[in-house]
């Protein structure tokens, strides 16, 4: 166990380092950062001063090394635009994104597990086909578009839910639904195929031969096995959701990390962009690790080899 976690942590660190390098290179794509920090109307002298002040006059590898070494101890630098430390910024906004991600994931699981189970139990019937079509609709709907439609319907026409911002739990309903929609198709399909596989399996036949009730066969024997991959993938999905929350946060004006990233890109505020990429990657890495552990805990075959 310890060994496994150490190995995974080492791999995670390696991945994080690679992502860091990529992120660093990415933000240097655009060339001279001093100019964008200086802002409109700055003179050549201002720019030179800024270049010195931010250490941008040093060779690239030195900048990179210093960034990495500081990032490793948790110092992600300062935002040029927000005039605040990046760590503070991200820490202040992470709760919103996390809430959003968890709400989205919760909703997605709440929808996809029953839906997938239903489809699998009625495999080949119109119910199954309807579920398939629904998942495909979910897959084909651009999330920003869906967000706008929800906003018009529930925010404007019906006036049930607040449209943007983060004041209360109601504020997370629509964004959560939109985010859930991005994960639901995959999770539904996974549940469905897992359930179909489970239902067709020998151990279900055994259970039937034992004369168990239908409910116990489906819920105790089949769903338990079908849910293992779903639950463990859910952690990974959460990682994807956090990465994909930019759109939702922009549409619903949630000032979370995704939105922060988007703002920073627009403002060329590269320390923030770098840091967000890094933080999201790190979260993803941790989540995959969590997912593996979860998988192992749920699946006795992995747990006790």
């Amino acid at each position: 166990m310890v060994r496994f976690i150490l190995r995974r942590a080492a791999l995670g660190l390696l991945v994080a380092l690679t992502v860091m390098t990529l992120a660093f290179m990415l933000t240097r794509l655009s060339g001279d950062l001093a100019i964008s920090i200086a802002g409109p109307g700055a003179t050549q002298e201002d720019i030179e001063i800024i270049r010195k002040a931010y250490g941008l006059d040093q060779p690239l590898y030195i900048q990179f090394a210093s960034w990495i070494s500081r990032a490793l101890v948790g110092d992600l630098g300062n935002s040029y635009f927000f005039k605040d430390s990046v760590s503070n910024l991200i820490a202040a906004r992470m709760p919103i994104t996390m809430t959003l991600g968890l709400v989205g994931l919760g909703l997605a699981l709440l929808v996809s597990i029953p839906l997938g189970t239903l489809a699998a139990m009625r495999e080949g019937t119109w119910v199954d086909r309807a579920v398939t079509v629904v998942t495909m609709i979910g897959q084909a709907t651009p999330s920003f578009w869906f967000g706008l439609i929800l906003m018009i319907t529930f925010g404007l026409t019906l006036g049930w839910l607040p449209i943007s911002g983060t004041g209360s739990w109601q504020h997370f309903v629509m964004p959560g639904i939109v985010l859930a929609m991005t994960a639901t198709p995959a999770l539904t399909r996974l549940t469905r195929s897992g359930m179909i596989e489970a239902i067709a399996s020998d151990y279900i036949r055994t259970a039937r031969a034992k004369g168990l009730t239908r409910r116990s066969i489906i819920f105790k024997h089949a769903l338990r096995n079908a849910a293992i991959p779903v639950v463990s993938i859910a952690a990974v999905q959460l990682g994807f959701m956090l990465g994909g929350s930019i759109v939702v946060e922009t549409v619903f004006a949630l000032h979370g990390v995704g939105f922060l990233a988007w703002e920073s890109i627009a403002k060329n505020d590269f320390p923030v962009v770098q840091a967000v990429v890094l933080v999201l990657a790190t979260i993803y890495i941790c989540l995959t690790m969590l997912s593996d552990i979860l998988n192992a805990l749920l699946d006795p075959r992995i747990r006790s080899t």
Binding site: L11, V19, A266
Partner: protein
């Protein structure tokens, strides 16, 4: 890393008529492809010709429409039908080129990892993990935002970012095919490594890749639409459907057709591509990749 998928032995099945969804999908895609190829020859308007005196004309089913602008005009007085049809070309171009770029990268990596195993596979797995840990929308936005949007850049960025699924599927299917006895038999028959890769493995994982490819096309088109929506997709005046939605967004309350028309078209097309993918999956007997 839990990115292995399982699949049943590849079975060759003959195409059966009867998968309704598949044929609906094929029909939708054919229409779009046709529109992309010959559409603009049929529509009497230039998709780029503006007429500021004739802006936001509603489509034919609404009051105030004009007979020669079937779907009306946009905020610059450009014919909406012409732009929609031209947009098919752009969206298709983005979808297919991205799919090819990412397909080449992903399939190569996946097959190499799956076939050679060992260190090669470790490297491939590492690359896949790195790729998966990068938030796609964010990085795509950053690249396009920093370098300035252009069609080529959008395609390259998406192509370089969306190969993970190809790699995962190619890798796990290759691994499974590799362990089958016909691979052993071919090795014993003296077949060279390229022959093994191209004649024995590739045809047998092709159906799985085909399914991924269709999904990738749909994904790329949606991603481009998202980038466009966030203002960093294909640059104007190229009418990609995503950009048309983004441009029409401000008008959604009062001239809802400007967002409905491209939105619905995009939706139907992506649906169609997904139908084809889903149909292929069941017709070719390929397991659904995650």
């Amino acid at each position: 890393m839990s990115i292995a998928i399982s699949l049943p032995p590849v079975r060759v099945r003959t195409f059966r008529v009867g998968n309704v969804g598949f044929w609906i999908g094929v029909a939708i895609c054919s229409v779009v492809v046709l529109a992309a190829v010959v559409g603009n020859a049929l529509v009497p308007h230039d998709p780029f010709a503006q007429n500021l005196n004739n802006r936001l004309v509603p489509p034919f089913w609404m009051e105030g429409s004009q007979p020669d602008h079937l779907l009306g005009t946009d905020q610059l007085g450009r014919d909406y039908l012409a732009r929609l049809v031209y947009g098919a070309r752009i969206s298709l171009l983005i979808g297919i080129t991205t799919m090819i770029v990412s397909g080449l990268i992903g399939t190569t990596l996946g097959i190499l990892g799956g076939y050679f195993g060992g260190i090669v596979d470790d490297v491939v797995l590492f690359l896949i993990t790195c790729r998966l840990s990068i938030p796609v929308v964010l990085v795509a936005l950053a690249v396009v935002g920093l370098l300035g949007s252009s069609l080529t850049l959008v395609i390259c960025t998406l192509g370089l970012l969306l190969w993970d699924r190809f790699a995962v599927v190619a890798r796990s299917t290759t691994m499974q095919v590799r362990s089958l006895d016909y691979m052993n038999a071919a090795m014993c028959a003296g077949a060279s490594t390229p022959r093994l890769l191209f004649r024995e493995i590739l045809p047998n994982i092709a159906s799985h890749l085909a399914v991924v490819a269709t999904l990738e096309i749909a994904l790329a088109i949606l991603f481009e639409a998202t980038l466009s929506f966030l203002g960093l997709g294909v640059p104007a005046p190229l009418p990609s459907w995503g950009l048309m939605i983004a441009e029409g967004k401000d008008y959604m309350f009062f001239s809802s057709w400007v967002i409905m028309i491209p939105g619905v078209t995009l939706f139907i097309f992506v649906m169609g591509v997904n139908f084809v993918g889903d149909g292929l999956r069941s017709l070719l007997g390929a397991e659904r990749p995650r």
